[in-house]
Amino acid sequence: MESATSGAPRTGFDVLLERAGRARRPFPTRLVGELGRITGPGHVLTRDADLAVYARDSWTVPALRVHHGRPLPVADAVVLPGDTAEVAAVMTLLYENDVPVIPFGGGSGVLGGTLPITGGVIVDVKRLDKVLDINDEGLTATAQAGIIGTDFETALGRAGFTWGHFPQSTDVGTLGGFIVTRSAGQFSTKYGNIEDILLAVEAVLPGGAVIRTKTTARSSTGPDIKSMFVGSEGTLGIVTEATVRIHPRPERRDTRAYEVEDFADGLEIIRRVMRTGLRPAVIRLYDPIESLHSFKERVTQGKCVIVFFYQGLGRLVDLEVEVVEETVAAFRHRKLGSEPGWHWYKRRNVVSGLPEFMTQGLVVDTLEVAATWERIPALYRAMIDRMLAVKGIVSASAHSSHSYSQGTNLYVTFLAFAPDIGTAEALYQSIWDAAMEACLEAGGTIGHHHGIGLHRAKYMPGEHGPALEVLRRLRSALDPKGLMNPGKLFGKVG
């Protein structure tokens, strides 16, 4: 059995399985030559080895396929342009020749957003890696879209700033990727998500036109054009540059952790803290399974850990610590001090457990949803229960890691036992279906920060209903030939 979705509507996932392993179509050598003339021949890759590596991002399904030695669809070529003009020339050439274009950043996307399911040319933007401007007075920074998150932050740090946007994949993903997947950083409770941080974009539209939006503190000039690229996942064009908000580096950092009776108490504490208007940089609440997994002997079995991480102006940090202590005091709790928070901070980007589990015959994945406060407790129970009802699942657990005055997210991790690829893919799909259905029924949004990619596209009609038509029309207006990242975001493959 190759797929659990036979009979279901034809989605990107079906197409992936269908096309995997098909012989590569011949790709005109003329086009390879022309791409090489634009970027220099060394920046056009067509070797089997290159195409095999570019056949995936960091989504679990291709990882499973690689692990089990199953094929994946490959692109016809990969091109690495060196600047915006080269991106534009590449886009013009490919559009004129009806070649699908798959933008590629760091390949850290976890939903198959860069998978070349219809063939075509992958446009890797990582050679666009320069920091172009750091504006102290206006507190803005401009960089090219292919810069790796950590490289950008290092450059800002050396100048005395931070951009405050640290997805756990900051060492892998790119500025452009963070924008177009609508990402959230681990410190988002203080600094905001990418849509709050982004001030302007430069992008190359399908066909090759270059546009740039204005950098300003705010404007009232019609629908916000830069925002159309936030979450566009390579379907509306290629982002080549961006201007973002920056902040002076924090004066002080501090952290406190508490053990609370249960997940509901923890959620209520966060809700009350967020209502004060204060914004600790990070608030993480783990359910009992994840508390034990993450903090081991520090926590009593069955209880929940909540970690607050503060940074910024020293006096503000003091105030936040004080207000949180007061809020927590109203609940049964045990103080765990600052060690768990520093432990989290030190290991915050370590994910080695995931590949290690997978090599042991387990399927592991994470999914993130969100809702308003009044819905969260029921949403949590419904998702976990529905996922645990799928035969073959080993565990499902969650934490909350991005909070707002109005609500929070739930980041769910599941583990299932699946020794062979057929079982793995079927089980994977069933668990996701259970989770997404439960989420929609409980009034949650199906994605908090990973975006849609290939895999989640099938749930988009359920998420947006008729409003999805707006996105479809926007897309066909900008990309009448449907060549930009086919199969992603909207699920229909042309």
């Binding site: 089997d48 590596v53 976890v110 080695s352 995931l354 590949p355």
Partner: protein, 385 residues
Amino acid sequence: MKFDLSTQTHICAICPNMCRFLCPVAAVEKAETVTPRGKATITLAVERGEIAWDAEAASVLYHCAGCKMCREWCPSNVDIPEFTAHLRERAGRDGLIPDPAPGVRDRLMRDRSFRRPAAELAAGLDRYRDLLSPEATVLYFAGCSTATLFPDVIGATLRLFEAAGVKVTMLRPEECCGFPLEALGYREEAADFAAALAESISKGGYETIVSGCPMCTHVMKERYAALGVELRAEVVHVTEFLDRLAGAGNLRGGQGARPGDGTVTYHDPCYLGRHQGVYDEPRRLLTGLGRFNLVEVDPGRELAACCGGAPSIDAVLPRTATGIGVRRLADAARTGAGTLVTACPHCLEMLGSAGDDGGRPVVRDIAEVLARRLGLWPSGGGGRG
């Protein structure tokens, strides 16, 4: 974790490429193919016969400096340089080693040395004869890069040994240690050089081999056994040896040097730091014996970026190697120190030539700066280099 190619390639091929930002080759070349995960993916695909094992596939494994940064970072202890070494060796057996490496091999086999014919180098070493004691049990192995490019370093090092009262001798001719061949995948040829050296060592009855070249000490310490060669002598880098002498009170700070006088920065060579774990010795020598004011490069020590100078990359992809060097030089320049000290002739060569001259610190070998600091060099005869 014991190295197990199969488990490690699987883990790495499905990791989200978490260490890619530290890989110097990926940082310069940008393509996913050359990231650590990319190399693991190819290794896995090749081992399983999913992609053809041909010159194209083999060439991917040469986009690695062997800098061990990924190994240092990896929470799963995956060792990419071991994958690349494994496949480079296979490429060697199958005649798939890419250009210009075969030319490097041919030259080396002919000249018995990587840089210049061993016989020519031997003639150049004559001037140090007065500083050598043929009966010594300590062998100073200069290494062909030092002998060719930085002969002053040999004189300075010998002067330091002399000042410490240590008798040393040298091999003449001194042939290649085999590192470039081993690193490029020419196992048999490397083993041939290793065996020749091992024989000279046993014949001479040397107990200790000291070299200022981390590639030489690395291959002798860490690779000879896998090449089937046993070296019956302790192998140490010059910094380890001098640090012992200084620690035992046999080498003392020079009269002229005042504490904190003179600011230097130090670049950790990959093959000395991450490969051999030598981080503290050069620092102790600089601040203790040399009484320099040492400002650290960021990043330094375990996460010190590669300079691209190792023949494992420089001999095959010189443009990438120089790109790596330019980045590292910028790290060093940010310290503001006028002098960049390092402890490897390959680093010296790369950092002394990559990038623009403007703003570049003066790049010096550690033995040379110490000998100068102690007033032992260049005065005192023994050759000017």
